[in-house]
Each structure stands twice: as C-alpha cells, then as structure tokens.
C-alpha cells in the first residue's frame, strides 16, 4: 500500500486532534477520509501551491514579486539561500506500507521545506510527523522550514513577510517512531478501507 506523508500527518492530527481556534468542530472519521481521498484544496492551499511553484523555479536573483497559477505575491526585503536540488520525491517501505514524500529542496543532508501560513505556529510543525518521515526517507539529518507568513491584500494577491527559519534534527529513535506510526496508519487504512495514494509524477523504481 502506498501512502503520502501528508496523509499520515492528517491521520495523526485527527487522532490527536486539538482545535486551532475556539469553537472549531472536531473532525469526524468521514471528514478525515474525505480529506485523504479527495482533492479539494482550500484557497489557502491553492495560494501555498502557487507560492511553491514560484519558489521551485526561481534561480538566484532579486525578486520584488512572484507570479504563478494566477496568484501574485508581493515579496519582502529578505535573503534566502536555496540549493539547486529541488522537488525530489522519495519512497521508503515500512513493512506493507510504502511511504512517499516530495521535498521542496535538498542540500547534502538538509531537507528544506517552504511553508506559507496566515499564522505561524512552530509547535504545530515540530509535533508533526512530516519532518520525521522526510529525514528517514531521504537519509537526512536536518529538516529546515522556511515559514512565510502571507496576508491576502487583494484578489489572489498576497503580501509576504520575511521568512522565519526553524530546524528539527534527526534523533536516535527517529526511524523507530516512523515505523510505529506507519504501522498504525496501515492498520487504520486497512480497517477503514482507504485506497492507495495517487502519485502522478513519480515512479517507484529504486536503485538497488
């Protein structure tokens, strides 16, 4: 069975759910399944995808704005170092479950991830499983988030604040924690009949 890291993270958040704001309803099992199996991005997700698309192809240089997928991002005064290896998809088998994820950038043993958000919450990133799986899948030691706070200032137009950088590190029990969560997710997915994740742009061929 194939699962995306993001699906496992959705499952983990559902399992240990806590409200992001007062009065937020707890998602049901149906909500989780819908989230994992359907492709219904919110406006914030589409803006994030557009920002990623712009960052993905940006060579060295100075940019006052990015435009991608019909979105415009007004950029801040800031400097950010990005490696040339970008958008790399990896796979790793955890028993019967193959887990896959695509990193935004990779340099040596550092995985770099760009996040856009309307409100920075580092604890949410640190407690997540995304960084753990990415370090495990890519054999890396450091997971570095560049977090861009964005604010909508017009139709499909966002003002971007300078990126904040947060790092998480490999630790001795990391692979074991990933195996445990992958097992848990596989058991859950089998029980509720989740289908395989769809990977549109990658093959599973591995170099032996």
């Amino acid at each position: 069975m194939l699962a995306r890291v993001s699906n496992i993270e959705s499952y983990r958040r559902w399992l240990h759910w806590k409200p992001l704001f007062d009065g937020q309803d707890e998602p049901s099992l149906d909500d989780l399944i819908r989230q994992i199996t359907t492709d219904e991005p919110s406006e914030a997700m589409m803006a994030g995808t557009a920002f990623h698309a712009a960052m993905e192809s940006a060579p060295e240089g100075d940019y006052t704005a990015f435009e991608a997928n019909g979105y415009r991002f007004i950029l801040p005064d800031a400097e950010i170092a990005l490696p040339e290896i970008r958008e790399l998809r990896g796979f790793k088998d955890y028993g019967p479950l193959t887990v896959t994820g695509k990193v935004d950038c990779l340099e040596g043993r550092i995985v770099i991830d760009h996040k856009t958000t309307s409100r920075v919450d580092f604890e949410r990133y640190l407690e997540g499983c995304q960084w753990r799986f990415y370090l495990d899948i890519f054999g890396a030691d450091i997971f570095r988030w560049h977090v861009f706070e964005i604010k909508e200032t017009g139709e499909k137009t966002y003002e971007v604040k300078p990126p904040q950088t947060l790092e998480a590190r490999r630790y001795p029990e990391l692979s074991f924690d990933c195996e445990r969560l992958a097992d848990e997710f596989h058991e859950f997915a089998t029980r509720v009949g989740l289908p395989d994740s769809r990977i549109e742009d990658a093959e599973q061929e591995q170099v032996a």
Binding site: G61, L75, E79, E84, V120, I137, G139, R169, Y171
Partner: protein, 301 residues
Amino acid sequence: MALKITHAADPIKVDRLNMVIYGPPGIAKTSLAFTASDPLLLDFDNGSHRAANRKDVVRVEEWNDVAGMTAEDLAPFKTVIVDTAGRALDALTVDIIRSNPKHGRGGALTLQGYGELKSRFGSFLKLLNSFGKDVVLIAHMDEQRSGDDVVERLDVQGGSKGEIYKSADAMGRLTIQNGQRKLLFSPTDAAFGKNPGQLPPLDVPHFESAEFGDFLAGVIATTKERLNALSEEQKAAIAEQAWFRDTLAKVSTADEINGLLGRAKNAGQACKIMVRDKANQLGLTFDKDAMVYVFAAREAA
C-alpha cells in the same frame, strides 16, 4: 523591497551553541545549568539562590541590566545561562512597551511589538554567540491536556515561544523517572526535543557526586563534536550530490546510467533518487533480476 535568493553557503565549524533546558518547577534546572563550562547566570527569575552549586550570577531587574553587556564583561565566562528564557522575554516585553507605548496594548505586545521582540531577542542571542559564548536557555515546562494525552510544552508566553524554538540548536527536558533525574534530548509524541548530539537518555548525577560538577559542560562538548562531524558529512554529501547532478545532466543512455549505479549505491538516498529520476526521464525501468536499468520496451519483451 526584494527577496534575494542565493546559493546555500558551506557548513561552518560549530564553536558555540544555544541549548534549551526545560522542565517542571523545582527539578533543579538552575543547578544543572551551573554545571556548564565557566557559567554566568543571568537571573531573570530571581531563583538562583536556590541552586546548590551557585556560581557567578547577575540579578536582572530589567532588560537594561543585560542590554549593554560587552565582550569584556563576559570575558571570564564560556557559557551564559538565561534563567528563565520566559522571564527574559517578559523583561524585554516591558522594555519594548516602555520605550514605545504604541507597541503595547493592555500590557501585551501588538503585532509590531512582537516583531520588535523577535528581532531584539534574536539579536541578543547573536550578540552573546558573537562573543564566542555558549548560551543555555532555561524554561519552565507546562503540561497541557490534549484529549487523553498529556503533552509537555515550554511555559513561555504566546508568540515569543517561537523565538526559543528557532534559536535552539539543542533542546532537552529534565525529568524524574523512578526517582532518577534524566536529561532527555530526543522528542517524543508528547514532548519537544532536539538531539543533534544523538545522545541517549542521560542520568543526571547526584548533586554531591564528582561527576555532577561538569555534567552539562560534557553534554555541550559532546553535542558540538557531533555537530562538527555532521558538518563534515554535510560537506561530503553536498559534493557527491553536485557530482551526480553534473554527471547526470550529460547522461543519455542506459549504459551510462548503469555505469553510475555502483557509486550511487554508497552515495546516499538523494543521489539514488536523482539517478532514478534521470532513468525515468530517459524511459528506463529497473530490471530487478539483472539489477540494471533497461528500456521499458525491452523489459516488457
């Protein structure tokens, strides 16, 4: 305004680090911190007198007491302890609101005020680091209930907590298990941690034992050693990835791809993936019996 995108820089030698130690009140975090190498404690919490092994202390009444510290002031010390980071941020908050009332509302910071807090706290740590000092940030722990789970978090006011997570090269929590004090750096489902030293759970020696005297100094030294080893591994991994990136750009046949498999095998996961992606681009698939890439049509036949 412009966002400048540059090349990543080479890793540098780690000769100082920022370590966060957090734990519940009364577990002797300050005493532990005093076992760092040549420490100076900035006592924002007025609790240093309780430490069994008290050393040099600056009693901090307000942010200005520390804002003007110079390299000369800190010359005799190797480690600066901020006790606690939460109180230090509180003191900085008061200073920000006092110097610019527009940055506060009802005693709390406005968005602009938070911006200044982040900037000034980050600058303060960088200043200490620029003097060549290790910094130990002490924080209280808060236990929060999340459904049936209890999660351990830093007990620091709202948004400023992020500054501590960002600045921490290593983060450990002090706890008691079966009567033994433990220092744990690995994160769990319920607790944060950063363990670049790849340290196992550490038993904190008894206060009166000889090993306690320089316990944290040893932990910091081990963590730095590992960080520097990682820097070397990082340099090697970057060089290997660059070699594969350049070489793969010139590859156009299955034979050329297969000629790289031996090197890719020992080159790390990223290089293997780069080879796989290039093979896919060329319309090749991996023949698991022959352990080589072949044209998809040939494998199908």
